[in-house]
């Protein structure tokens, strides 16, 4: 497409021909309001708030539906445009309940913001307003039609992105309303995005509503943990309560565009599970006994060393995890594989069926960092055993020590009786995890790790894009970041002397050591991440 020169309120800029006037104006530094327009959805041009004047044209045009042409002169600061915007604002509010104080959208509502910006401060409408009852429409959403401005975003999200006609416009005239088809519940797993893009409080998230006011939340950019896609999210947390209130989609055109799935949207709940493991402990004769970090790491190191001395490094199996960060994968490899010479290093995979929507796929690989684990070398070497064989070898008694860097459900390995026998047979069972599991219940040592929201680090998605997660919450109880735990274990074992104060420095070592990551640093990754080195993209480091 050719570039054209356009003037917006006298400011000349060059844009691609056909760029709509809202985007054109934005590039020229001019704000054009919009309700129905969304860059990721079809243009509908229904709200009429983006009306602009074109020099030489008698009628105003919808900015969203008009493409830039050579020599076009767009005027947004005229009395005519101001009057049209004010008219739309007044019209949109005539039946609106003005219930901002009890509306979940209050504080991040486009209608509220524009009313403050340019709306009439009082209405001339002196009639009874149309009212509608609140409705559960499925999709973890609640529909309040009183607040709806019929922008069609929800309809088009389902239609265009999910490819399903689950929400429709019904009736006509001022009785027009949004509803589900035949009153059925919305089932698609992208519906949560509607709560993000609804410009008013018409469709709000059941999970988030009444939990917090938007202005109480701090939003921190992060990456979703629920599959290998690596969707960019905003973690909205409540600093005073040290609690995450919601995840919202964060735009990254190379990964998830504007959307996230509903599983990821609810992906923070595990952080606040009431049964989080909060302190290191050992298995005593009568139940679990709390231990200090110092004792725990020292005693685990002694026990592990002892087994290696007696039975050799092939008597130890390390089960890593595709849920740990690249930095932690690197430490796993450096300590156990390189440092102790353990060959049986692997991590379990949790494939599920992928869910394919018209313009969005929820990936089947449920580990957010399987790629990172492979690239960093959390994989067997020198005829080392994989996950299943390690468990079998432990059940048969050839493996004497198992280290689980996350427990996971027993049926993960397919054969629960064998797994039980393995866990009971081993002389040393160490589990590093956030939540109790059948594995941790039998562990000689439990080390409480943390969630993605309690540490910094990076993940590598299935396409080889490295992206950062950030620590948003203060640590609970006596938990510690997994990278810190691994690092102190490496020191206690005498195989990893470095004492880095943060994952950024561990990442620098990783980038030196592993070719796929060469050239990358936290600065290079920035907010949106960066791809691993192209030449190594398809090669797992062996």
């Amino acid at each position: 497409m050719a570039a054209v020169k356009v003037k917006v309120d006298g400011r000349e800029i060059s844009v691609e021909r056909g760029t709509n006037l809202i985007e054109t104006a934005k590039l020229a530094g001019v704000f054009v309001p919009s309700f129905c327009y969304h860059p990721g959805l079809p243009v509908v041009g229904v709200c009429r708030i983006c009306l602009c004047e074109l020099e030489g044209r008698p009628k105003l045009v919808a900015g969203c539906a008009t493409g830039a042409e050579e020599g076009m002169r767009v005027i947004t600061r005229s009395e005519k445009v101001a009057a049209a915007r004010k008219a739309v604002m007044e019209f949109l509010l005539i039946h609106h309940p003005l219930d901002c104080p009890m509306c979940d959208k209050g504080g991040e509502c486009t209608l509220q913001d524009y009313t403050m910006l340019m709306g009439p401060s009082r209405s001339r409408f002196r009639f009874e307003k149309l009212t509608w009852p609140e409705e559960d429409v499925g999709g973890k959403l609640v529909l309040n039609k009183n607040r709806c401005i019929l922008c069609m975003r929800c309809v088009n999200l389902c239609k265009d992105v999910a490819g399903l006609d689950e929400i429709a416009v019904l009736s006509r005239g001022e009785q027009t309303y949004i509803g589900t088809v035949d009153g059925r519940k919305i089932e698609n797993e992208l519906a949560g995005n509607i709560a993000d893009i609804c410009p008013v409080g018409a469709l709000t998230s059941k999970d988030f509503r009444f939990k917090a006011r938007p202005w109480e939340l701090t939003n921190v950019p992060s990456v979703c943990q629920l599959c290998s896609k690596g969707c960019n999210i905003m973690v909205g947390y409540h600093p005073r309560r040290n609690q995450i209130a919601r995840h919202t989609a964060r735009t990254n055109m190379d990964v998830n565009q504007w959307w996230i799935c509903d599983r990821g949207r609810g992906g923070f709940h595990q952080v606040h599970e009431p049964n989080r493991i909060l302190a290191p402990s050992r298995k005593g004769d009568r139940g679990r006994v709390a231990a200090s970090w110092q004792d725990a790491t020292a005693e685990i190191a002694v026990a592990l060393r002892d087994i290696i001395v007696r039975h050799g490094a092939r008597a130890v199996g390390v089960l890593g995890s595709g849920t740990l960060t690249n930095e932690e994968q690197y430490l796993t490899r450096a300590i156990f594989r390189d440092g102790l010479g353990i060959a049986h290093v692997d991590f379990p995979r949790r494939p599920q069926k992928e869910v394919v929507y018209r313009k969005f796929t929820i990936e089947g690989d449920k580990d957010p960092n399987a790629r990172g684990a492979e690239l960093c070398g959390v994989t067997p070497v020198q005829n080392g055993l994989g996950v299943r064989d390690m468990v079998r070898a432990a059940a048969e008694g050839t493996i004497k020590a198992l280290i689980f860097l996350r427990g996971g459900p027993l049926d993960l390995f397919g054969e629960p009786p064998i797994v039980s026998r393995a866990l009971e047979n081993v002389e040393l069972l160490v589990v590093l995890d956030m939540l109790p599991s059948p594995v941790s219940e039998r562990a000689h040592w439990i080390l409480p790790g943390v969630s993605f929201a309690e540490k910094d680090g990076t993940f590598t998605n299935s396409k080889g894009r490295v992206q950062r997660i950030r620590k948003v919450l203060t640590l609970k109880g006596d938990t510690r970041e997994d990278w810190r735990i691994l690092q102190s274990l490496g020191q206690a074992l005498g195989v990893y002397p470095a004492k880095d104060p943060d994952p950024e420095r561990i990442f620098a070592r990783l980038a030196q050591a592993i070719p796929a990551f060469s050239g990358l640093s936290y600065a290079v990754l920035g907010e949106l991440g960066a791809p691993i080195a192209a030449a190594t993209a398809d090669v797992a480091v062996g």
Binding site: V44, C47, A84, F127, I149, G173, E174, T176
Partner: protein, 432 residues
Amino acid sequence: MTATRTATFEPVLTKTMSLPDGHTLGVYKKHGGYEGLALALRKTPDEVIDMVKRSGLRGRGGAGFPTGNKWGFVPKSTDKPKYMCVNADESEPGAFKDRLICQKDPHQLLEGTLIGSYAIGAGRAYIYIRGEFAHEARILERAIEEAREAGYVGSNILGSGWSCEVTMYVGAGAYICGEETGLIESLEGKRGWPRLKPPFPAVVGLFGCPTVVNNVETLACVPHIMKRGWEWFAGIGPERNSGPKLYGLSGHVVKPGVFELPMGVSLRELIYEYGEGVPGGRPVKGVIPGGASCPVLRGDEIDLPMDFDSLTRAGSLFGTGTPIVMDDTTCMVRAAWITARFFAHESCGQCTPCREGCGWLQRLLWKIEEGRGEEKDLETILSVTDQIEGNTICALGDAAAWPARGFAKKYRDEFLQHIHEKRCPLSGGSLH
């Protein structure tokens, strides 16, 4: 009454309508039916378009867009199929002329449709008829069957090598489906929501293909242009407003009905000569000249020619050329409210100003009619119409704004009387 220019006018559109079985192929053919099609098929499509352009035929659906030009916008070189859509969704209050053609002379419409399809290169024509016209739909269905059997519809029409199918589509009953892109959406099986333009239907229309949407009466004129020549058509009526016209006269007239007269007939002549005046000799208080969306004219404004340009100059609109006459017993606030209620009911609900503004106008007008009005309500009415006009996707918003503003401005005193007396001075105390 002065001698009229219309005395020598020979009706063509309604010529065979009063004959027994005038709606059948036999009677239609006996009076020269389908000769226009045969003539057109001997010309190139461009020659047909050129004839229609020269005739000066303007769309009879209300907007008055030159038909030949509309046909000329259809791209010549395209791989896509092209479509002709007949707009038989006549729903404007006051308009009932297209219905007459469908009912009494369906073959005239079919012939025009086929010529139009040939001109634009369409292999399929759809007749979109409003759901309430069930009787007319049956008549048209039968006419299509007759025409197919006679070789006017289907493949290799009249041995020309050109083929065209004609399909009926019965709408579900919405005024907005008469808006051409609303019609197209409805025809595609969707909600009849008008599309954003550009692109215009001539380029991206039905199923994304080049499409022409023409009004019934417009197409009915076409066979006559083929048979009698463009010069004949252009010679009728004022310049740029040529041709015969079906005027649908209703309201307070002795003899309401459809009258075929030349374009430019005076409104007074139409009412007093053809409509035989107002019952009881009462004065004309106002006339809505071209269907409900056209701003009202006062009784002293009826000495003007009924054509597109004259009515626009007079601050109103020619619309479909179907005047509604109101005598001095009519409450103009109530008339305004009835009109506003119609548009509020028919607003598709898609874009903000029309969806919200029409309902507001209706409430304001009813408030005044009920005797609860305040002077500021009158200003609000005018302001709301300003806020709707020109800001919507389609013309329905304008169509709702114009009459409300027209009534409020032309009958301001009557509105104020309602407000000051806190009652309707004309309804005799009863509002229902």
